[in-house]
Point group: C2
Chain length 371, copies 2
C-alpha cells in the first residue's frame, strides 16, 4: 500500500498523495505561438522555422488522432525524439481523462474542434511589445469564463501548454515580476541556451527600459511587454476554476512558474493549485526548478512523475532522461492525474510500456533505422 504511488515524487511534502481524490479530472491543452521562436537556437520544438510554427498545432492534432494533419508524419525531431504529447495522449487514454484544446493565438489552426480565445499570436519580444494589453485581458477573461464552466463538471482541471520558446517569454515575465529566474529556466535541449535567453531578455528589457520587478504590481503589463498569449489564458482558466471552488494542476515546468507568478501578483489564493511535472524537469542540473517555484510561492504543492524513461528500449524516449524534451503538453501532470485517477493500478513503468507501444506504432515506423 505504501508503494501505491511509488512513481509520484512529492517534492516538498506539502501534499499527501494518498489523500488526493481525483474522480473526474479534465485536461486543457492551451496552444499558442510567439514570434520569439524565430530567434535561432531557442527551441528544439521543430526542426526549422516552419515546423516550429506548426508544433503546437501538430501536438493538438496528435492528442486527438495519434497522428497529424498539418504535417506529414508526427511531431518529432529529425532523429526521432518525439513530442511529449505522446506521453500525454497515452496517459489520457489509459485513465479515460477528457480533454479540450484551447487556441490562444496559435499560428496555424489545427484540424480538430478547438476552443477559441480569439487572440493574436505573440510578437517577437526582441523587437516588439509581446502582446497588446487588450489581448492579455481578453485571454484572462475568456479563461475565467471557461474555468467557471469546467469546475461545474470536473473536480480537477489540469492545465498544459504547447508554445515553442515559451520558456524564454516566461523568463522575461518572471524577471519583470521580480522573480530571479536567471539561469533557472528549463529547456527542451540538454544544453540549455541560458546565455542566449538572457541576452534576448536583457535586450528586450533595456529596449523598453524595464527593470527587474518593474511590473510587480502590474502583471497584465508584464505579459504585454514580455509574455505570450498562453500565460494569461492559462492563468485565467486557473482563476475561473479557483474562484468557483475547484482545484487546478499546472502541468509543466518553467512556463507554469510564469503562470503561477502572474496569479500570485493578482493576489489569487493558490491553496488549491498544485504543480505537476516530470522527474526530468526536477533532475535538470542546468535549471533550478525547485528554487524557482519556491521563490514564487513557498507553499505550493509540487509533484513529479518518474516514467523510468532511462530504462526505455526506444532511443527517442530514453532521450527524455538525457535532457531532451523533458516535459510539455502537460505530459507530467497528466501522467500524475492518470496514476491518481486509476488509484495506482498503473505506475510510471506501466505507463512507459504503453508509451513505448504508442511510439512504436505511431513514430517508430518513421525512424526505424535510427532509433
Amino acid at each position: 500500500m505504501e508503494r501505491l504511488f511509488e512513481d509520484i515524487i512529492v517534492v516538498n511534502n506539502l501534499i499527501d498523495v494518498k489523500e488526493i481524490k481525483i474522480i473526474n479530472p479534465i485536461f486543457i491543452c492551451v496552444i499558442s505561438h510567439t514570434e520569439t521562436s524565430r530567434i535561432p537556437g531557442l527551441t528544439i520544438a521543430g526542426a526549422n522555422l516552419d515546423l516550429i510554427q506548426q508544433t503546437p498545432t501538430a501536438d493538438a492534432e496528435f492528442l486527438y488522432y495519434g497522428k497529424c494533419k498539418c504535417i506529414n508524419g508526427v511531431p518529432a525531431t529529425p532523429d526521432g525524439k518525439p513530442t511529449p504529447a505522446i506521453i500525454t495522449r497515452t496517459a489520457l487514454n489509459i485513465a479515460s481523462i477528457p480533454f479540450l484544446v484551447v487556441d490562444a493565438g496559435v499560428k496555424i489552426k489545427p484540424s480538430i474542434p478547438f476552443y477559441s480565445f480569439d487572440l493574436h499570436c505573440g510578437n517577437n519580444i526582441l523587437n516588439n511589445l509581446a502582446m497588446i494589453l487588450e489581448d492579455v485581458k481578453k485571454g484572462y477573461q475568456y479563461g475565467r469564463i471557461l474555468g467557471e464552466q469546467l469546475t461545474k463538471s470536473n473536480d480537477l482541471v489540469i492545465l498544459g501548454e504547447s508554445i515553442p520558446s515559451g520558456t524564454t517569454t516566461a523568463l522575461g515575465v518572471l524577471l519583470s515580476l521580480g522573480i530571479d529566474a536567471i539561469n533557472k529556466t528549463s529547456s527542451s535541449m540538454p544544453c540549455n541556451p541560458h546565455e542566449l535567453k538572457n541576452q534576448v531578455i536583457r535586450s528586450s528589457m533595456q529596449r523598453h527600459n524595464i527593470k527587474f520587478g518593474e511590473f510587480k504590481n502590474k502583471p497584465f503589463t508584464a505579459i504585454s511587454y514580455m509574455g505570450d498569449p498562453m500565460i494569461p489564458s492559462v492563468a485565467g482558466i486557473a482563476s475561473g476554476v479557483l474562484d468557483n471552488g475547484g482545484r487546478v494542476m499546472l502541468a509543466g515546468g518553467t512556463q507554469m512558474c510564469a503562470v503561477l507568478a502572474f496569479l500570485k501578483c493578482l493576489k489569487i489564493n493558490t491553496k488549491n493549485i498544485s504543480i505537476g511535472t516530470t522527474k526530468y524537469i526536477l533532475d535538470d542540473s542546468q535549471a533550478g526548478f525547485e528554487e524557482l517555484v519556491y521563490s514564487i510561492d513557498k507553499e505550493i504543492g509540487v509533484l513529479a512523475v518518474d516514467l523510468h524513461m532511462k530504462e526505455s528500449s526506444k532511443r527517442g524516449l530514453k532521450a527524455f532522461s538525457e535532457g531532451f524534451v523533458k516535459e510539455g503538453v502537460g505530459a507530467g501532470g497528466v501522467s500524475i492525474a492518470s496514476i491518481l485517477k486509476m488509484k495506482g493500478k498503473i505506475n510510471g513503468s506501466k505507463l512507459l510500456k504503453r508509451i513505448e507501444e504508442e511510439y512504436q506504432l505511431k513514430i517508430g515506423q518513421f525512424f526505424s533505422g535510427r532509433m
Copy 2:
C-alpha cells in the same frame, strides 16, 4: 412526492421521470447561420436581415453575460418578446449546469470563448446547395470528437441550437429523408408560414430533382442539399456521446426532429436519446410535433416543460404561450434538466419567477412602455 415533477409532461409514457438521475449534465448550444434566413417572412428571430444574422451570436453572448456585445441591448423583438435564451440562461444558473457554445458556421463570431467546428455558413437552399459535403462530414466528425470527450465528464449532454430559419431547412431534410413533415414543423411565429416554407422547399427540391425520400440512404447528401451546419454538428455530438455510453437530450422542436431523423438514417441506436422541449411546442395546433417525432422514431422518449408562461405578468414572456417564440436555444430541455438536477426543488412556476426577474433586469428596461 407524486407531484415532485408536476411541470414535466411525459408525452408518451416511455420515460419514468422519477427514475431519471441526472447528476452532472452539460448543455451545448450549437450556433449556425443559413442564408435561407434571407428569404423574407421565414423567421421572427431578428427584426431585420442584419439582426437575423446576429441572433445566434447575440443568443450565445446573452447566455454568458446576460447581455450582448454584438448588438446594443438584448435579443428581443421590437415589442419586447425576448429570445428563449432568457429561459436557458436562468435554468442553467439555477441548477449550476455548465455549458459550451459551439460555432458551427455562424456568420458573426460571438465575443465569448467558443468551440469552433470550422464550418462555413449554410447557403440559401432556394438557390444553392445548402453545404458542401465536406462540411457536412466535418461537422459530424468534429461533433463526434467533442461528444466522446463530454461523455467522460458528464452523465447527460443536452443539445440545443440557435439558427434562424432552421425549421425550414429541417423541413427540407426531413422530406428528403422520407419523413412527411409537411405542415408539421413549428415556427417562432403564431401564424406559421407553412405555405412559404413548403414553396421554398418544393422549389429547392425541384431545382435539384430531389424526390420525397430520395436520400433515405444518403443522409449526408440530404444535409448537403437541404440542410444547415447545425444538423450534422448536433448529430455528431449526439453520436459521439452515445457511442461512448452516454445519454443525450435533444433540446428543441422541429430542428431536433431533423437531427433525430438523420441519426436514425445512420442506424444509430437512439435508446439513450430523449427529446426535451416546451409545452408551447406540444400545444401548437398549427404544427404536428408529436406526430412528426413518432413518425421518425416510435420509441423515443419525449418530455415537455410547463413554464406557466400564460400566467406571466410580463407581456413579452406571456407571448410564448400565445404562439410566439415558443422554444429555442435549448430552453425546454435545459429547463427540464434543471428541474431534474434540482430533484424537484424548483418547478415550472419557480423557474418562471426567476425568468421574470431576469427579464425585468435585462430586458424590461428597454421596453418599459410596451410590456
